[in-house]
Subunit: 404 residues, 2 copies
Amino acid sequence: MRLSNTFVKTLREAPKDETARNGALLVRAGYIHKEMAGIYDYLPLGLRVIENIKEIVRQELNKIGCEELLLTALQNPEPWEKTGRFSEKEVDVWFKTELASGGTLGLAPTHEEPITSLMKNYISSYKDLPRYVYQFQTKFRNELRAKSGILRGREFLMKDLYSFHATEEDLDSFYKEVEKAYMKIFEHLSLGDSTLEVFASGGMFSKYSHEFQTILPVGEDTIYYNKNRTVALNKEVLNEETMKDLGVKRDELEETSAAEVGNIFKLKLKYSEPLNLKFVDQDNVQKDVYMGCYGIGISRLMGVIAEKFADDKGLVWPEAVAPFKYYLVGIGEAGTRRAEELYQENQDAILYDDRDVRTGEKFADAELMGIPYRIVISDKSLEAGSLEITDRKTGDTKLVKTLD
Amino acid sequence: MRLSNTFVKTLREAPKDETARNGALLVRAGYIHKEMAGIYDYLPLGLRVIENIKEIVRQELNKIGCEELLLTALQNPEPWEKTGRFSEKEVDVWFKTELASGGTLGLAPTHEEPITSLMKNYISSYKDLPRYVYQFQTKFRNELRAKSGILRGREFLMKDLYSFHATEEDLDSFYKEVEKAYMKIFEHLSLGDSTLEVFASGGMFSKYSHEFQTILPVGEDTIYYNKNRTVALNKEVLNEETMKDLGVKRDELEETSAAEVGNIFKLKLKYSEPLNLKFVDQDNVQKDVYMGCYGIGISRLMGVIAEKFADDKGLVWPEAVAPFKYYLVGIGEAGTRRAEELYQENQDAILYDDRDVRTGEKFADAELMGIPYRIVISDKSLEAGSLEITDRKTGDTKLVKTLD
């Protein structure tokens, strides 16, 4: 992409009400635009980061046999009334709206009810099980406060996966597969070392669920973990019983703030029972379908990665999610000519700063935008027959003959 | 994709209230699921068709310098109040909702107001112009009736492009480029021959706008066109003045039903003036920005293509949008072994019917699902050292040695 050809530019200031660092930096660097608290547009560079994160998640889920679909935002109250969740007492973040032809609709904060209802058309026998379906979908949650940039959105992008099983054992075994897939995803996103699988409240039907929490000073959760990180738990379940279950003592546990980037949950029969999702087993006996659900916050991950790696000069994207691998600057006539050639040969990987502005301004923008490698081509580098490449993260510069 | 591994299957019946052929066929063939009138989920095969259509549109828009972004569904009333369009008198299809922290929000039926407001951060000088930005976004329209399957949705997917110019001449010239790009898009979608550029009402600031209308018996519009198709107009502008402007007489015009698949519109200063989007020109004079907007109905296109090509056996997808190019069936032990190999070598192109069902059922599903080519491998075809390939559209069968 040529910077001269895009409307995107860095801004000197973020909106005054943007108090979260991830929000302020992403706005200033031209990745997002704030419509209202918790409601952000994704500009071209931001959309590329989002698509990169989605693709990493998609590949790992496809490897374990999951299928992608896309459910709707507008919700028919019917299945939600059967589970009791259309009531604000049960789900306190509904946005609701009125249909012109009569009746109230909801804007989906999550999708257990519609996916369970949908599957009644497709699951009737043990031969139809197990099934794993997921989507990348915009969720709507009517949060009273939303001051954490894109860490907590009123409109945000989530990956939600639902699994359907004939037996609880089969659910347990797929649940373990998802745990492994999730850790691979967080490793690909460079969050492997700082993301812990954490015991959390299991709700009505399980003793515990699991959250994936990335250690982060501005994270909204508080978690506790032992030194070698084999045990971690959310503050909400920090009690004698949990510590006994997990075999840890209070003084072995360290406290930290963290951001929840994923969660996995054994729903068991919680939704299949009231919504009547049944199958006939090998012995011709009708049974309820076991279910699991598994979320990953896609737009939140963009915010977590921004917060986690940023330094005083701006964003620092890991290569796997960066909108472009290289930020290219040509200096002088020969340098600019060679830069133009290099851009033509590697358009997909290069953000080419071909603007008519000072080199210092280009360098500052390269840093604020957080592109992993800055390439400079000048008379000096050309004399050495090379490109000068600077690593955004370490600041190290080296001369190379060609790009990898 | 292996049919044994997907939850998708063909259904014997569509929902009773699904009166539109596109909706009924797409539901029966396992492409979509109806939540409510005008509100549909996209199942894995349907999502692949949608993504194929998006990619065709994306490529043509990128070729003329357009940039992709993603705006929000939830709308701050502020800019809409400035243009008067938050009122139901002006826009009668709003879904509105209440924010828990106070205030009314809208669900975007279109995005002129937010994109114009956003661009105020990025356009200030003639050097920042022209700019072309687009998105694929879910739109919400509170239609009183929605009985046309996915031809008219309450929640539907649209591509909307907005252009920003220093002069009216520049807007005019880009408008022509979009006209050409649109015709290329409809040609790629196999709708080139049946899609006409039609004069339609221009609204407040232009005499005419242009619609792209695909001739279709169930289309909701009525259009008139001359024999060699050089002139076409919407019924809404069929009057003496328009016919004089276009140099045609009433008796030269034929009437037909059609579905609007795209529209392009010179907004000129309609939104930039009330929303105060200005730039400073070469002579340091402040001026309003000229704007154009250009829509394509992505989910509607899926419905139009379904309606247009379907026959009495089911769907017939053009290759460019089909979820898979081939539907593979192996017969007998050796045939199944060879089918398995062929699938392994061409997984991206093949929907492999490896289910334990009768061959006749497989053939019927291949036809209902509308996959362009059916491959059969049997003892007979193996003896000839070949694969038997049947064209879904023509029914012609031929033996080939290998896939292209």
